[in-house]
Structure formats: structure tokens, C-alpha cells
Symmetry: C2
Subunit: 351 residues, 2 copies
């Protein structure tokens, strides 16, 4: 099976990927880092390809399909940049770990798409739609298993960081599931969900890199803090894009969270910003299990009548700034600047 989204010259397409992630307005000083990071991402990619080889082409195909839809590969990029920001001459020692985290991330996307009945991801049919539900479930399991085999290359403390982050991730999913179709759970609950579902794994990834780089305890904590805040910013922005993004840029239809009844910050802010009959209508439509397209459009237009979109965009930016702030503990240099840039990018991205 060919891997859609990858050209025949993987390095040049990786370079595209990195520059796309950095955006077109990235400062010159960051563009200079591209060749090094491109080569890091290629090495991480190779680790992934190696570990996915199965005697069963069907499984390799399914896993490869899931991974090639993995999108921006932000996590490996963050890990490589953190390793270099901490002065690791070569990022070699974190390649397998970055591959492991990318596999875990992809495994959860695959299982998420099963849970959310998602039809599309990154402009292509989702895994469950392309390969069927049974294959999607077992391919997710396979990705988890291979991730842990990669993590087994590291000391026990790193494996446990990885395991704890995965457990938090699952807890986040369960917590999210417990609040479906319920607008009364509030912001605190929302932040509890996304800190576990999204941020914990980024924090663990970067904390692990700092440990491998033998950074001091405060720097390890700063890396974790940076990862956690960036993860929160990323998820808030993700939830905003689900209602206010461009579906062509996103490669998937809008309003998944509205349809599935996930009370994201957008819905909570909208609900809080409406009054009287409009508030009642928003709640009535939101808690409906089966929504028609017209219901989704109406939810969005009710949201337009509040300042929810601006408030949520601002919240993402604040968390991005918090991430930048945490970086003060790291040595100054171009890779720290890159990390600052990536945090602000995660908070303000359009895809």
C-alpha cells in the first residue's frame, strides 16, 4: 500500500512538513535549524518504520496508514528541539523515545476515531472507516505494544513516565466520556480533561528528554511545565478550530465535539454567554444525541452571538505564553527560541 501524504522523496517532504509546522513567517534564525531538525525527524521516522514491520503486511499497512495520517508530528519535533536546546550534541539518544511517543499518540487517535465515529482524519477516511472497526481497534493496540517495546530501551524511570502519561491520557478519555451531553460540568472539569487527555503526554515526553539529557531537576520541571502548558494551548486551539476552523485546512469536517456532545471551552463559554430562551435552545440542541446538520449550524450561530470564540482564542494564547515563560529556565539559544515559537504557534495555528 502506498502511503498517501508522503512524496517519493521522504526527506524533502519532511522538510516541507517542518517548514509547514513552523509556518511561512518563521524568522531566518529558525529556518537555519531546518536541516538538523529534518534529519532528526527522518531518523525518528526510520525507527517507527523499523518497529512496525510485521510478518503480516495487512497489519503493517494499517499501522502505516494510521501513522501517515498522524499529521504535523509536533511531538517528535518538540522532543528533538528540546534535546538540542538542552545541549545534547546529537539527538540520537531520544530517537526511539520520540518514536514511542508518536506511536502512542497515533494509537490514541485511532481509538478516538472509533469512539467518536469519525469519518475523516487529515483529509482521508479515518482508520475505522478505511479498515473497519475490528482492524482499527487492534491496530491501535499494536501501536501501543510497539511503543512500549521502543520505550523498553530506556531506564525504568523513563518507561514509568511514559506509562503514567498513558494512564493519565486514558483517565482523560474516561473523564471526557463522563461529561458528554452535559453543559453543567464547568471549566474546571474541562481543564482537568485536557490536561490529562492531551497535555500529560507532552509533559512526559519533554520531561523524559530532559532526564535523558541529564538536566538539573529545575530544568526537568521546566520542560514538563512547558510541555503541559503547550499541550493545553494546543487542545484549546483544537477545540476552537472544531467550530471556527477551515475544514479544508483541517482535513476533516467541523462540529465533531458539538455532535458528540463534548463540552469544550467553546460550548461552555457560549452557554455562559447566552441568556433566556437562547441559552435554553443551546442546551436543548447540545444535549440531543442525534443531531441534524441544521442543529449543528444553529449551535454555531448561537455561539456567534457571544464572545466565546474570542475568549477561547485568548485562553489558548495565554497558555502558549505560560509555556514560553517556563522556558526561562533553559539555556538561551536558537533552539529555545524555536520552542517559544512552537508554543505560540500551537496556540494560534489554523490547522
Amino acid at each position: 500500500m502506498s502511503r498517501p501524504g508522503r512524496s517519493e522523496a521522504p526527506e524533502s517532504s519532511l522538510e516541507n512538513l517542518v517548514s509547514r509546522t513552523l509556518g511561512e513567517e518563521a524568522p531566518e534564525s529558525l529556518v537555519d535549524l531546518l536541516p538538523v531538525l529534518t534529519s532528526d525527524l527522518a531518523e525518528i521516522d526510520q525507527r517507527i518504520q523499523q518497529v512496525l514491520r510485521s510478518t503480516y503486511p495487512r497489519l503493517t499497512d494499517a499501522a502505516t496508514y494510521a501513522l501517515s495520517a498522524g499529521g504535523k508530528r509536533v511531538r517528535p519535533l518538540l522532543m528533538a528541539a528540546t534535546a538540542r536546546a538542552l545541549g545534547l550534541d546529537s539527538a540520537r539518544s531520544i530517537y526511539s523515545l520520540a518514536a514511542a511517543f508518536q506511536l502512542i499518540h497515533t494509537a490514541t487517535l485511532v481509538h478516538d476515531d472509533v469512539i467518536d465515529h469519525a469519518e475523516m482524519r487529515r483529509g482521508r477516511p479515518s482508520m475505522p472507516r478505511a479498515f473497519g472497526l475490528p482492524s482499527a481497534i487492534v491496530t491501535g493496540d499494536y501501536l501501543f505494544v510497539r511503543a512500549f517495546e521502543l520505550a523498553a530501551e530506556y531506564p525504568r524511570s523513563i518507561i514509568l513516565r511514559c506509562g503514567e502519561a498513558c494512564a493519565a491520557l486514558v483517565e482523560g478519555e474516561v473523564l471526557q466520556d463522563s461529561s458528554r451531553f452535559d453543559l453543567t460540568t464547568g471549566r474546571e472539569h474541562y481543564f482537568r480533561v485536557i490536561e490529562r487527555k492531551t497535555a500529560a503526554i507532552v509533559a512526559a515526553a519533554l520531561g523524559s528528554v530532559a532526564e535523558i539529557a541529564e538536566a538539573s531537576a529545575p530544568v526537568q520541571e521546566a520542560c514538563e511545565h512547558y510541555g503541559r502548558a503547550l499541550g493545553v494551548a494546543f487542545q484549546i486551539r483544537d477545540d476552537l478550530l472544531d467550530v471556527y476552523g477551515d475544514p479544508d485546512l483541517l482535513g476533516k469536517p467541523l462540529y465533531t465535539d458539538l455532535r458528540e456532545g463534548n463540552p469544550t471551552l467553546v460550548s461552555l463559554e457560549t452557554y455562559g454567554g447566552l441568556t433566556g430562551a437562547e441559552q435554553d435552545e443551546f442546551e436543548r440542541l447540545f444535549v440531543q444525541r442525534r443531531k441534524q446538520p441544521g442543529d449543528l449550524w444553529r449551535l454555531r450561530s448561537l455561539s456567534d452571538r457571544t464572545t466565546a470564540a474570542q475568549t477561547v482564542a485568548l485562553a489558548a494564547e495565554s497558555w502558549g505564553e505560560q509555556a514560553v515563560h517556563a522556558l526561562a529556565a533553559l539555556p538561551n539559544g536558537p533552539y529555545r527560541t524555536l520552542l517559544e515559537w512552537l508554543a505560540r504557534g500551537a496556540a494560534a495555528r489554523r490547522f
Copy 2:
């Protein structure tokens, strides 16, 4: 949430469990081993309880529910018995590993129940039915994650054995899925599926115990061989019971494989044993995606017209004997006798 199937005195109910697994006709010499094995299983259980503690009661509840339906706990019993047969004074060094394998086994049962749309397991609603599909998927993931955290206590070679077995297991699922509603895949394919789906993990569990016990290479191989053959016997018998078992003893309805179109040895032998119009009818009904109860009864009655049940029972017994044969490499003694007894039991059990 209370845990159904467990009395308030866990030790005495564990004792029941062990004796139920050994059956009522177990020879006196084996009954003498009960207190030791009961205490081993209690220790393994405790490791499981410890690692499942989550800050989210809902997740702990779901995981505990899945585990308490785990049934016969054959794998931990086999691991403890193997450790003792190999002369480990205390089975302490394998407790965490046994807990890990039990968690992996349970994770796959939970995901299997999602894939097979199973309503019941061990006399209770299945996980997906009791907690919903999203919780069932993430609880399975959670069990995998905690299993790998437990496995992280061991050297890398053991973690890799564990990982490879999980990968084989997933490959087995994919392979099985590829042959649904297809009777032409043949016996060789069937054995390839069950060796991966069921036997590889038992082989890895017992091979790992032998490695931890620092057994010689031939003894390690014998333990793996024993585990693999017992696993195959167990699965053949399982597939037979799905058509010819007692649903009350099994705690679940019959004919799941027929309904889901899994070409087990029973169906393959039936299909091979029929001719003409009856063979055509069997195939026509078997490949139907949506079967009525009447279709399932008809498939069973066509099976009755062949020697499939006897042939399959004999195949299970032969694999059980192969397992017994492999044990010749182990030191003679009561625990080896127990392992022989368990292999024959797996091949001839009624539940």
C-alpha cells in the same frame, strides 16, 4: 462498585477458584499444592489491585469489572506452577509478571468483546454492554498500559518477550478478521490464527518464567513449547465449546463464532464432512452477515450430521498430550504433575 463473582473472603474464594480449575477429581497429591498456589494467586491479585488504583474511581471500577470477569485465571496459575516446578523457592519474583500477563489477557478480552459485539461474558453483561463502547476501548488501553508498567520491573529481554507476544496476539486478531465469513481458508490458516491469538502469549509467559528462574536453554524452550501447545489445546476446546458447550457453565450464549463467521476447526471440519446440497447450505448460512437464531440452530444441526465434534475434541486432546510431552525436559515432581494435569484439563474442560 462491588466486584461480582468474588466473595468477601478473597482467600477462600481463591481456593474455590483453584480447586474449580483443578476440577473435583484432581488427585490428592495435587490438592496438597492448593495452599501454596492459593497464596501465589492472592499475591498476584494484590499486584493487580495495586496497579489498577487510579485517581478516577470510574476507571478503577471499569478495570476491576473487566478483571473480575477474567474467569479461571489459568495464566497466573500456570506461571506460578511453572516457577515452582523449576525449583524457585518463592514465586515472588514472577508475581508482577503474572499480573502483567493477566492484565494483557483481560485487555484483549475487553477489546474482543467490542469487536465481537459480545453481550455476555462469564455470566454477566460484557464490558462494552455494562460500561459502553468508549469506556470499553479505553479500559482495554488502560489495562495494556498498566501491564507494561508492571513488565518494566523486569530486564529488557522479558519486556521484549512480552511485547512480541502482544504483537503476535494482535496479528492473530488481524489474521482472524481477514478470514471472516470464509470457509475456504482451511485448517492451516486456523492454526496460524490460534497460535498467534492464544498460544503465543502463554508461550511467552512460561518462557519468561523459565528465564527468570535461570533455567537452561532447553528447559526454557520446553516451557515455551508446553505453553504454546497448551494454548492451542485451550483454544481448540474453546471453539468446540462455542458450539457444543453448556451455556450455563460457560456463562455466555453459544454460536458466537458461527454468528461472527469465524471459521473455527468445528466449522471447517463440518464443511469438509458434508457433501452436495448440505455442504452448499452450510456455506450459504455461514457466510450470511446477519443470521437469525434459526440459521444458527441449522448450522449446528448440520454439524451434528458429521464427525466434526469428535474430530475437534480429539485434536484438542492431541495438543494437550503434546504439551505434556514437552514437560519431560522439566524436573520430575508434584508441580510437573500439576502442569501435566492442567494441560489435559485445558484440552478436555467443559467451561
